[in-house]
């Protein structure tokens, strides 16, 4: 009954769902159910509650000091409808971060749930573990890592300004795809402050074991931070040239001086 496609061997060239076969004009039962499962997993990733306690414990376990913050979006469904609320701190968080601020630092790292808590649960700790050596190597001064819930990317602007950071790195759960429900995004913004546009940030996307590896992403981010601090800019004016430093296609473990 099932008409099989004799080009299944080409499927190794793409993650796309090719050579699925058919019954009449329609998908075979197996693929209908596999697709439903992938969508269910992506949906669960969007709605999975953010376990900020567990993430904070993991980040502390790596030796970072931490702070907690939440956006002005009071609940997940409101967060999805009102992106503007996810870009602003709650009154309470704003006060707390302002009180915690110290001297000017090079960097603040924000760990934000975004559209996939699953991505943060799975990738934040191993990514930060891979990134930590670059902080030590470059001698960057650091504010406490801020664990932010109900957050969109621009929330980092307000956090960065309050904590007097020269640059903000925001780890965020990316919009889940069917084939990648737990992908991490990294956003770097120099001189963070409310009103920054996306054209003023650099983004490193698809960080996960099946995508951009933790080591490669950590190296790429460190390169961008070094250049951002040196040239006092991020965004469209800071083009990614980190690939030139790859050693036989692999990321080096040290960045070195500019």
């Amino acid at each position: 009954m099932i008409e099989r496609d004799p080009w299944l061997r080409l499927a190794r060239h793409t993650p796309a769902r090719i050579a699925l076969g058919r019954t009449g004009a329609s998908l075979p039962t197996g693929e209908v159910l596999r697709f439903a499962l992938a969508h269910a997993q992506a949906r669960d990733a969007v709605h999975m509650p953010f376990d900020a306690d567990a993430v904070e414990a993991q980040v502390r376990g790596l030796g970072f000091a931490t702070l907690r913050a939440s956006s002005a979006a009071p609940a997940r469904d409101i967060y999805l409808r009102r992106p503007d609320l996810g870009r602003r701190l709650s009154e309470e968080s704003r006060t707390r971060l302002a009180m915690a601020a110290g001297e000017t630092v090079d960097l603040v790292i924000v760990v934000a749930d975004g559209l996939s808590s699953a991505a943060i649960h799975a990738q934040a700790r191993p990514f930060l573990a891979a990134f930590r050596p670059f902080i030590a190597e470059q001698g960057w001064s650091l504010a406490p890592v801020v664990i932010a819930s109900g957050a969109r990317v621009a929330l980092g602007d307000e956090v960065g300004a309050l904590l007097k950071a020269r640059a903000c790195v925001l780890l965020v759960g990316e919009r889940p795809g069917l084939s990648s429900p737990d992908s991490l995004g990294l956003y770097l913004t120099f001189d963070p402050k409310a009103g920054r546009t996306d054209a003023e940030r650099n983004c490193i996307s698809n960080v996960r074991p099946d995508g951009l590896s933790f080591e490669a992403a950590a190296f790429k981010l460190a390169w961008h931070i070094r250049e951002a601090l040196r040239r006092a800019v991020t965004g469209v004016e800071l083009k990614d040239e980190s690939d030139r430093l790859l050693e036989e296609g692999r990321p080096p473990l040290r960045l070195g001086a500019a």
Partner: protein, 462 residues
């Protein structure tokens, strides 16, 4: 000018025409986000009742986005064809709905009327139409365009083959092109969204699709969906550009956020036509649009997102495009929250585009943070098939592994052809039969492992 409507003892006041239009719009999250939606269900219907009594002529004298500061408004009003408008010039918005659904409104009469209608008139009447009205009226509007085949003939629906790959890998893209062609898809365009914006990568993708089309004499066209200025640069380098792509919106400010204006669209159109790569026509532009883009760019002027979307079709029609599609569920739940809102918006967009004379296709799609699923897409696809949609997307298994969203699949295209008897573009349909991919009835034949397309792609991937 303020508008007033009384229901019993209650009075509903609307500050001006754009306020009335926003309040009359069927509910959607984007207008709520913008703070311009009706506050209650009753106010929403009161606004529709009030709008139904507004003369169509009012849209020629009261611009929703200022004429002086917005070149899209200037384009719409300066190119308005008063002679074409004359037959409906005395009608109200409500009369106009009745006219569109009457037997007097034939395909020929509607085609002649199109240059006399502004996007705002189309948007206004759509707001007082039910889904079945949007389907029936759109079905009567015929827009036919040509490049290497004929798109939009009655009883046909085309498919864009969308072979995206997360790293633009040549073997991966080729494998999906093969999958799509052997599933009978690709008559609208073989159109790739590149992951990279590198000129070298885009040129390689253009050559790859051009070689397949040339080698197998496929009556279709290719496109790499990159910025219009990039395409112009590639044409100057001699790259094989069939269609020039650009995302467009309904206000000058939103277009500026895309890095374009009307002048650069004209440059792109002229450059593509000068290459004369079309064989049966020279409709050489491909535009994408979507409700919410102007709000997202902070350039909405307090106008509802559906009206601004119709204005994007006003931009499109100035360049005689081959293809225009709304990416209806792509932009996210902050603009269209759930399956119900996506379905309604898809039907509105399709109707408005067709009424204005634009070859409208729909990317029937959703993201994973919207309250929607494949069942909603089945519903919208079926409704659009009935409404005579120009084309839809074809993505293997409906899963776009580069853009991370779900659209319609090659199988979905087969389904809608089977359910509604829709044919492909005639030149492409004949090619499929000649290649032993389909039989005389248009259905797929059992796949043959020795098919020359398969050998070609496997050989290149090796």
């Amino acid at each position: 000018m303020a508008y007033l409507h009384r229901i019993g003892a209650k009075s509903f006041v609307f500050a001006d025409l754009k306020d009335l239009m926003a309040k009359a719009t069927p509910p959607r999250s984007g207008d709520m986000l913008a703070g311009i939606a009706a506050a209650t269900a009753e106010e929403n219907v009161a606004a529709r009742m009030c709008l139904a009594e507004v003369p169509l002529k009012a849209f020629l004298s009261e611009a929703l986005v200022p004429y002086e500061t917005d070149e899209v408004t200037r384009l719409i009003l300066d190119s308005h064809d008063a002679a074409a408008f004359a037959p409906v010039s005395a009608m109200t918005v409500g009369d106009f709905r009745d006219f569109l659904l009457s037997h007097e409104a034939t395909p020929e009469i509607l085609a002649a009327l199109a240059p006399g209608l502004t996007p705002e008139m189309a948007a206004a009447v759509s707001k007082i139409m039910r889904n079945q009205d949007l389907i029936l009226a759109a079905k009567k509007c015929r827009v036919v365009t040509r490049f290497r085949n004929t798109i939009g003939l009655p009883g046909t629906m085309a498919v864009r083959l969308q072979p995206n790959h997360p790293t633009d890998d040549a073997a991966g893209v080729s494998a999906v092109i093969l999958d799509g062609l052997l599933y009978g898809c690709g008559d609208a365009v073989i159109g790739i969204n590149p992951a990279s914006d590198s000129l070298a990568v885009i040129e390689r993708l253009l050559k790859l699709t051009d070689e397949v089309i040339t080698r197998f004499e496929i009556p279709t066209q290719s496109c790499v969906l990159t910025h219009v200025t990039t395409s112009i640069g590639l044409m100057e380098r001699g790259a094989p550009v069939d269609l020039v792509f650009q995302s467009i919106a309904g206000t000058e400010g939103a277009n500026r956020s895309f890095g374009i204006d009307l002048k650069v669209l004209a440059e792109g159109t002229d450059a593509a036509r000068a290459l004369k790569r079309g064989t049966v026509g020279q409709n050489a532009m491909y535009f994408e649009t979507g409700q919410g883009s102007s709000l997202s760019a902070g350039a909405h002027h307090g106008v509802d997102q559906q009206t601004l979307e119709a204005r994007a079709y006003g931009v499109a029609r100035a360049y005689n495009p081959l293809l225009v599609n709304t990416v209806v569920g792509f932009i996210g739940p902050e603009y269209l929250y759930d399956g119900k809102q996506i379905i309604r918006a898809g039907l509105e967009d399709h109707f408005c585009g067709k009424l204005l004379g634009v070859p409208l296709g729909v990317d029937v799609c959703y993201t994973n943070h919207a309250e929607a699923d494949q069942d909603d897409m089945d519903t919208l696809l079926t409704l659009l098939g009935v409404a005579g949609v120009t084309y839809v997307m074809g993505i293997p298994g409906a899963d776009d592994v580069m853009l991370n969203y779900q659209s319609t699949s090659f199988h979905d295209a087969l389904y809608i052809r089977e359910a509604l008897g829709l044919k492909r573009a005639p030149e492409f349909e004949a090619w499929l039969e000649r290649m032993d991919i389909t039989g005389a009835d248009g259905r797929l034949l059992p796949a043959d492992a020795r098919h020359p397309l398969l050998g070609y792609v496997a050989g290149r991937a090796a």
